[in-house]
Symmetry: C2
Subunit: 487 residues, 2 copies
Amino acid sequence: MQTSLPNWLMQRAFLTPERVAVYDERAQKTFMELHESAAKKARQLASAGVRKGDIVAVFMKNSVAMIELIHALHYLGAVVLLQNTRLTSYELAWQLKDSGAVCVIADDELADRIEENVRVITVSELSALPKAEAEFQQYYHLDDVATIMYTSGTTGKPKGVLQTYGNHWWSAIGSALNLGLHENDCWLAAVPFFHISGLSIMMKSVIYGMSMYVMRAFDAKKANDLIIAGKVTIMSVVSAMLQKMLADLGERRYPETFRCMLLGGGPAPKPLLEACKANGIPVYQTYGMTETSSQIVTLAPEYSLTKLGSAGKPLFPAQLRIEKDGKAARPYEHGEIVVKGPNVTKGYLHRPDATEEAIRDGWFYTGDIGYIDEDGFLYVLDRRSDLIISGGENVYPAEIEAVLLSHEAVEEAGVTGIDDETWGQVPCAFVKLKSGYSVTAEQLKQFCQERLAKYKIPKQIYFVEQLPRNASQKLLRRELKQLIPNN
Amino acid sequence: MQTSLPNWLMQRAFLTPERVAVYDERAQKTFMELHESAAKKARQLASAGVRKGDIVAVFMKNSVAMIELIHALHYLGAVVLLQNTRLTSYELAWQLKDSGAVCVIADDELADRIEENVRVITVSELSALPKAEAEFQQYYHLDDVATIMYTSGTTGKPKGVLQTYGNHWWSAIGSALNLGLHENDCWLAAVPFFHISGLSIMMKSVIYGMSMYVMRAFDAKKANDLIIAGKVTIMSVVSAMLQKMLADLGERRYPETFRCMLLGGGPAPKPLLEACKANGIPVYQTYGMTETSSQIVTLAPEYSLTKLGSAGKPLFPAQLRIEKDGKAARPYEHGEIVVKGPNVTKGYLHRPDATEEAIRDGWFYTGDIGYIDEDGFLYVLDRRSDLIISGGENVYPAEIEAVLLSHEAVEEAGVTGIDDETWGQVPCAFVKLKSGYSVTAEQLKQFCQERLAKYKIPKQIYFVEQLPRNASQKLLRRELKQLIPNN
């Protein structure tokens, strides 16, 4: 079996040169123009010393320039580390060090947040560099790593998820086999490219030969205007975005050309789904994660009435089962969601143990809890026992606990998510102080601010005498909520 | 990279059980019903002794039962040898012997044409068999051989082309990335499943979750009626079929729901393409062969005006080049068409030498002659220097010559194609008799009738003194036409 394909953007520039690849507020670029820009950037990166196999971090907000840069790095055979623009210097430095990235390409206004001892090239600096000769990857080998995104687990140590060209390819194909592929499709990217939900749109664009519309930052009004004007036919959202769009929409309705609102990023509130139904918005609920290179389970609107709240069935190349105590669960029995498919990561960077634990016999253990009904539809109950999803961002309690524990006054710390109307959930911390020490909640929040992205900072900090632990002293995060006064 | 996928029909029966998989004149079956029928047939085949890895020949005309049977054989992990129903007993026997098929499943009315000493099970007999326990293939391994179809080359000895699950998968995906995939698609299969043009529709149906409409034998009037009634949206044809449909169509027009007339099986006459354009028929010209598991190069209608007569550009996963004297040809320079892609066969059954000659460094040498224009569009000039395409069927001169030479009166024989209004081309033979022997053209045709399918029998046989040969005595088939009296 041949496991390489012609370089995707170059093939598009050859096959469909005049088709529009990308729009933004100001302009548009055809696949040929996008290729030419990517090739130019690749030669500039080559003159900056980027070589095949290098890991290069990209620290940028959504833009056409960011798309060009990612393609350019792939032209050179470099591996792209995508960094969340909301991370602190401390978090960024950890990823750069752990991955061994050779340099960071950063938006001009973000560059000074990189404090790690690594070469930083701003977007302006890159565009001023001369062009060097460079050998471009004519083929993408499906087993090669294309991108890395960091994610944390229950241990709190962020791990680099390896996403191969094949993962992206199969994710795009699985989605097309489910959603179909129309000549006039244009996918609105208002979710960030440093998340798999955004990056996967960019990959689909070159694989399908489909237009995409790039939004620098999500804006509910602008998104609604684009849909109503018929400029986009598909959009990826998380609940918080959809809620804002509904509020802005008012009495207006989307046209029939808008065929899919792909809703991911955690279980969706039922009132939201019902409001969408009342407004005729074709919501496809979906379940996926960084490790599955975006969606792996999706609910078609034809089932949105009868299977309300379900994440649906696997994409065609994928499979799903619920495991309970090492055995397949019966319908409706709760257990761990286990998935399989060619879109699933081959593992974590430099973490053979974590990889071996997560992927067994080809099946990926998500750590999420759910059940399957008698027709095979998945219902997600809880993302990884302790994962908090806040406005579509993954927040890992262990990561916040580690920061709190590094404060001299803190003896023990536990973090859990509490419901929030705007963000779905927000983190909330429980702290036991060392005897003889004292600190205020405000002081602890300030301490966190230097070390954690804003969305990870506990909204509430409670001081407690004792944290709930089991016999082997493992923290019982699910029981933390009971410590909230008057809860 | 994982190279296996969940069993296609079983996955469809799970994901989209209620969607219609197949229609024919009388009925329809959902994917769940098709799966149940296939599973039943698989158990009956198991009771007949069919085992994983067996090669089983299928000698049937298009029907829902044939689709079920092919899926059933794949459930058991058997390899399906598809046999052209127009072949003679002599030709069939050769394929059965060469392939080592363990048995033949034949339509009742065709069964007595099998004279080779091999077990024949008629469709009626199969349906009366008891069901045995059987282990079904839960996964299709993309490298495994799914089907075999025989084709001849310049040597005249038919060779079994190995088509893997992966070849069929990538062919379907490449086509979808080019033609798109609509929710209401229904593909009309009026070409036989024993040809790759027909079989590929069946594969697309389960991979896409798309309906198909099966026609037992092509009927221009019925095909037009189906299109006009909006029952089918895509159809595969060869020129001779399209010509008949145009003649039947008259002043009527196809509705907009009909979005693709996929035209393969050899270079299309320009007047036909022009007539289609005048009638608003969305013709996609295409180039492909048994070895590429159907289309590999396709022209989109948006180019049908400017690139009239071109077969188009490669499908997204594939590549194409023209080779002349071992080097890449310049634009417009004529040379051999060489292709690459994951839909290309891994070779010929039991023919390592032929495989090595045809596939070099991952590229498949088609033997066909063509050129590429400055924009990369392919123009096919001649199918393999000596291949005759008659009504969409491949006819190999060397195969006919071999039969003629086996006649006691024939000393030398040469066969070439001559133009024919109905069939595009028909074979024409030139024979030099042994001294002292005499035979009539009619007698020779009768001799051929016992050994060759009807469409291979020379329409004209000319007796000549000498055949054109080069210095090394190689027959110059292209010069044969000059021997036709008054030509």
